[in-house]
């Protein structure tokens, strides 16, 4: 009898022990989030220094002036490259400018934004760049690479953030009954720099240079137009080393790029293309707009034909939830009423550039595509380079300068059917 009770107890103990079994499931999420960064005005205004040449890390916009190539290092400064021989570009120096995104050069004066400020730098000696003037508190906020910064005047601090890779691990239900949607605790961002069209064939007369497609700065006849998300700021460059702000025009929202063409200004916005009459450079007036679905869209113009790329993005933070990836060809011979001529499908277009009917379109991770645009109703793809992550190009005098996440590439496009790689400056790989 005792034995039976003992046996029974044994079984009961066994079952009880197993009955407390718990599943154990963990979820590890690795995502890119944002970490906040604060910059005080005193830090900002003591930050401009000329440093020895540095490797590219996170390149942004590019700008060409004569034999010099300027590559923005996002929010850190500007690389100055001696590009007199595109086959062997030489890094000269690095100008440290906090919060710098955009560049424009007129003569020997380089204009740059530095978070809130608009600074003018004397680059006569690229190894010893001097700050010659500073317009303070011009910009209140900005957005690059999907990250928005803003200036808080009450505590004189700039609130910015930077990307960081986060890894979180937590215990989760082993058997979810419903589909589970995951949100990364941080902020999800749109890809890439502010979209841009490439501005090409801009006259290098007047001593100004040529900017890449993502430019928000444009110099026309001693005036610099700087577009922010919502406004156009005008600077008078009569005295180049001491630009003075002449006014500000409200443009709406989602302004991305500015492209001067003849006496018009073409603005790429997230809802369409705006055309402004610049006959009176002091006071541009609104002419017309061509709307489209919300998308990131740069614009370039050549021979009264505007080329606009639309890139869909998979979140709402930057350009809205667009569904289109395409190239629009617009007849702007009558700028007061632009006409959409034709639409070509694209993969994920970023910046574009055109030079003498040779069209170059960056496809982000999809690389670079070259097109023959002699007949706008029948634009033919010529080549597709897939090896780079391209977002901005400048085609100028048969040298195509292409900036991507992985570095600067230069191609000879004298034969548009077969581009020749001249040189590459690679981005420093994370060690």
């Amino acid at each position: 009898m005792k034995k039976v009770i003992f046996r029974t107890l044994q079984w009961v103990a066994l079952v009880t022990a197993f009955a407390s079994c718990k599943d154990n499931c963990t979820q590890t999420v690795t995502y890119r989030g944002a970490e906040s960064v604060k910059v005080t005005l005193s830090e900002l205004r003591s930050g401009i220094k000329t440093l020895p040449a540095q490797a590219l890390e996170n390149p942004g916009k590019i700008y060409v002036k004569d034999n010099f190539l300027f590559i923005n290092e996002v929010k850190k400064g500007i690389h100055i490259i001696d590009n007199s021989n595109p086959s062997a570009p030489k890094a000269v120096s690095f100008i440290q400018i906090l919060g710098n995104i955009d560049i424009a050069v007129n003569g020997n004066i380089l204009y740059a934004d530095s978070y809130t400020d608009f600074v003018a730098l004397d680059i006569t000696n690229p190894n010893d760049v001097k700050e010659v003037s500073r317009n303070k508190d011009v910009f209140n906020n900005g957005q690059v690479d999907g990250i928005t910064w803003s200036y808080n005047a009450s505590d004189q601090t700039i609130y910015d953030s930077k990307y960081k890779l986060y890894t979180t691990t937590q215990e989760v239900a082993c058997e979810p009954q419903n589909p589970v949607y995951y949100y990364g605790g941080g902020i999800a961002f749109d890809q890439g720099l502010s979209s841009g069209g490439i501005k090409t064939g801009l006259p290098t007369a007047n001593g100004t240079g040529v900017s890449g497609s993502t430019a928000r700065f444009a110099i026309v006849d001693n005036r610099l137009y700087a577009v922010t998300q919502s406004d156009m700021k005008l600077f008078n460059l009569k005295n180049p080393s001491n630009p003075s702000q002449e006014g500000s025009i409200n443009l709406g929202f989602g302004i991305e790029t500015i492209f001067p063409y003849k006496n018009k200004l073409f603005l790429g916005t997230s809802t369409g293309v705006q055309i402004w009459d610049n006959a009176n450079p002091q006071k541009p007036t609104y002419l017309s707009r061509l709307d489209h679905a919300r998308a990131c869209d740069p614009v370039v113009v050549e021979n009264d034909i505007a080329y606009v790329t639309l890139r869909s993005v998979n979140n709402f933070t930057r350009c809205g939830a667009a569904s289109a990836n395409q190239l629009d060809v617009i007849d702007v011979s009558n700028p007061a009423s632009p006409i959409l001529k034709k639409t070509y499908p694209m993969d994920s277009p970023y910046g574009l550039g055109i030079d003498n009917k040779k069209l170059f379109i960056c496809e982000g991770t999809g690389g670079l595509k070259t097109f023959d645009a002699n007949d706008v109703m029948n634009i033919k793809q010529l080549q597709h380079f897939k090896e780079m992550n391209a977002f901005d190009v400048i085609p100028l005098n048969n040298t195509l300068m292409l900036i991507g996440k992985d570095g600067l590439y230069q191609y000879d496009y004298s034969n548009p059917n077969s581009l020749k790689l001249l040189s590459k400056i690679a981005v420093k790989t994370a060690s």
Partner: protein, 209 residues
């Protein structure tokens, strides 16, 4: 010459005969020592979750859900020493979201006189790898990888009257596997890695012969 041919003929005959003999004895060995355990049963446990809400706000927490899942398996082996059988176990464990096919090396030991008509006890363990072959309808960004499957058990053998027994067993079942969902892009990595560890009590009914 003749001698050599005769010799070779005899040799070949001997080889053929001995081979036949080995085959027969092997077949007989298999027949005499074959052991099969086939069970169906349930896996009982708690699908556990600690939610962030429960940590941040202890007044608002989720109850821990009980979870019962179905399992089948069959052990096929050979008695190698006394009543100890060694073989392979193949089965299916149906969890709510995932199904696992564990293929294991198993042993079963029956205690007591094998010929007796009384209830006997047995113990066994299966250890192997759980394959996820039944979860092929997942998106391309989703990757699923099987893992360890281990299941020790003790049970009763209840004679049916013939050569077979009914079995009733209780044991522990551990299944683990990983899933990986990559929703990110090159610039915007977004990777979800899930590690699933199922710990369950297994109660099974079956037959043994």
């Amino acid at each position: 010459m003749k001698k050599i041919i005769t010799g070779m003929f005899l040799l070949v005959c001997t080889m053929a005969y001995s081979q036949e003999k080995t085959q027969n004895s092997f077949k007989r060995f298999v027949k005499e020592n074959y052991v099969n355990f086939t069970d169906i049963g349930g896996l009982f446990g708690k699908s556990y979750q600690i939610t962030p809400n429960a940590i941040q706000n202890p007044n608002y927490s989720y109850t821990v859900k009980a979870s019962t899942n179905f399992t089948i398996q069959t052990f096929n082996g050979l008695k190698v020493y006394k009543n100890l059988a060694v073989g392979a176990t193949v089965g299916v464990d149906w969890f709510s979201s995932y199904q696992i096919i564990p293929i294991s090396l198993g042993i079963r030991n029956t205690f007591g006189d094998i010929k007796t008509k009384k209830v006997k006890t047995f113990a066994g363990i299966d250890a192997g790898f759980g394959f996820m072959w039944l979860n092929d309808e997942i998106s391309p960004s989703n990757e699923i990888k099987g893992g360890l499957a281990i299941s020790p058990m003790v049970g009763l053998l209840i004679p049916t009257g013939g050569n077979a027994n009914f079995t009733l067993s209780v044991g522990y079942k551990h299944n683990r596997f990983k899933s990986k969902i990559d929703n990110g892009t090159l610039d915007y990595p977004y990777l979800i890695e899930n590690q699933y560890n199922f710990n369950r009590m297994a109660i099974r009914l079956g037959v043994n012969f």
